[in-house]
Amino acid sequence: MSAGLWLALAGGLLGATMAQAEGVVAPSDVVFEDGAVAVSLTGAPGNPENGPDIINKGSGNCIACHQVSALPDLAFQGEIGPPLDGVGDRWSEAQLRGIVANAKMMFDESMMPAFYKTEGFIRLGDEFTGKAHAGEVTPILTAEQVEDVVAYLLTLKD
């Protein structure tokens, strides 16, 4: 990679971070209306290309509970929730954002974890260590990841 390109990239990243810090809606400030969230959590559209990574094991782990036919390479797709095929037809962008941010606002008592929430947990642990959590609580997904996964879900049309 040339020094020039590297600099340009770094500049781009820096710009993105600053924009995010300004425009980002904090987890406790998210406004739900009938389970939906109208405005982008970052103030910008998400990047659908990052969707599959987030849906896979690791950060989002959506695949533990959902099947996605468009991602046949992801092994062991779960059956707890409905297949996500066609969710882009069934739900609006605002509804999908609400479902990913906190599904319990859309589906009463849902088993689906709230991915953009930092309060109200019982015996919050430090990731998967089994130890108590200390310090500031971060949501499971960042605002940007929520937007990316929402943008990807919108591409899942029948």
Binding site: E79, P113, I122
Partner: protein
């Protein structure tokens, strides 16, 4: 280390003998009969206190045919080496009083018949519900003058298995009323509490979704009639509390410790959800 390897070798040996027997047992085993003689109830009517479902199932019924087969014969069951070790410990004098378990309880097959099936159980003198492990340590400390064993350590889980073997095939029948009731209620509360950042309760997975796949795992009802359990994954015996700990940890929660009052209460409650299933320990899981 050595034990682990020995057990692994045994597990592989068991698997090999399965392949050899493959043509004979073409169908997956639907009924669990151990050593061709102990008939296990792996599916039965749910106990009256449980409204959530009509039928309760042993965890055995959710495993692959290969894993199920390992539990059908003690020669294939990799847990049995540890049971043999515990049988030696049963006869071994330990502590300041110069006694072994056998000094007071005699032959384990007679002294411990039926015991596993009713534990955890209220202990009048202690004024609380005791797990089998706590009872063993009480005997070690107060009656033998010996050091207590680590709650979920190797010696203890082997002894718990040896004692459980003496109840194999008998129906689980823990008491949930009388003095045990408040502990049982506490366990029930814990069972339905949505812990951790994922906000999941035991019931979310084991009551509402048993029979479905969560990631690569086929969800069972989370019964403990088979505990202690030998897991092919970690090639050792595992206590129910170790399993609880893993399940709570996986919700991104701060877990409770093995032997904690919370897990004792939870064990009583979970055991009671399996009242009617056979004691299967030591069973085999992936």
């Amino acid at each position: 280390m050595f034990q682990g390897k020995g057990a692994l070798a045994l597990a592989i040996g068991g698997a090999l003998s399965l392949i050899a027997a493959g043509s004979v047992v073409a169908d997956e085993p639907a009924k669990l009969v151990v050593n061709g003689e102990i008939e296990m109830v792996t599916e039965t009517e749910a106990p009256a206190h449980l409204d959530a479902f009509d039928t309760i199932y042993s965890g055995w019924t959710f495993r692959t045919p290969e894993t199920r087969m390992l539990q059908m014969d003690d020669f294939d069951n990799p847990a049995m080496v540890f049971v043999d070790q515990a049988a030696e410990a049963w006869d071994t004098v330990d502590g300041s009083e110069g006694k072994s378990c056998a000094s007071c309880h005699g032959d384990v097959a007679e002294g411990m018949a039926g015991v596993r099936a009713v534990y955890p159980k209220w202990n009048e003198a202690a004024g609380k519900v005791r797990t089998l492990v706590q009872q063993v340590n009480d005997c070690r400390e107060t009656r033998m003058g010996a050091e207590p064993w680590k709650y979920d350590g190797g010696k203890m889980v082997a002894m718990e298995s040896l004692i459980s073997v003496q109840s194999r095939g008998m129906p689980v029948n823990v008491a949930i009323d009388g003095p045990a009731q408040s502990t049982w209620e506490q366990g029930k509360d814990l069972y339905y509490t949505r812990f951790g950042q994922l906000e999941l309760s035991c019931a979310n997975c084991h009551e509402n979704n048993y029979g479905t796949m969560i990631r690569a795992d086929h969800l069972s009802q989370g019964q403990i009639n088979g505990f202690p359990v030998y897991r092919l994954k970690n090639t050792k015996l595992n206590t129910a509390h170790a399993r609880f700990k893993g399940c709570v940890r996986d919700t991104r929660a701060e877990t409770f410790n093995p032997g904690s009052p919370e897990f004792v209460a939870l064990e009583l409650y979970v055991a009671s959800r399996g009242n009617g299933l056979s004691v299967e320990a030591p069973s085999v899981r992936n």
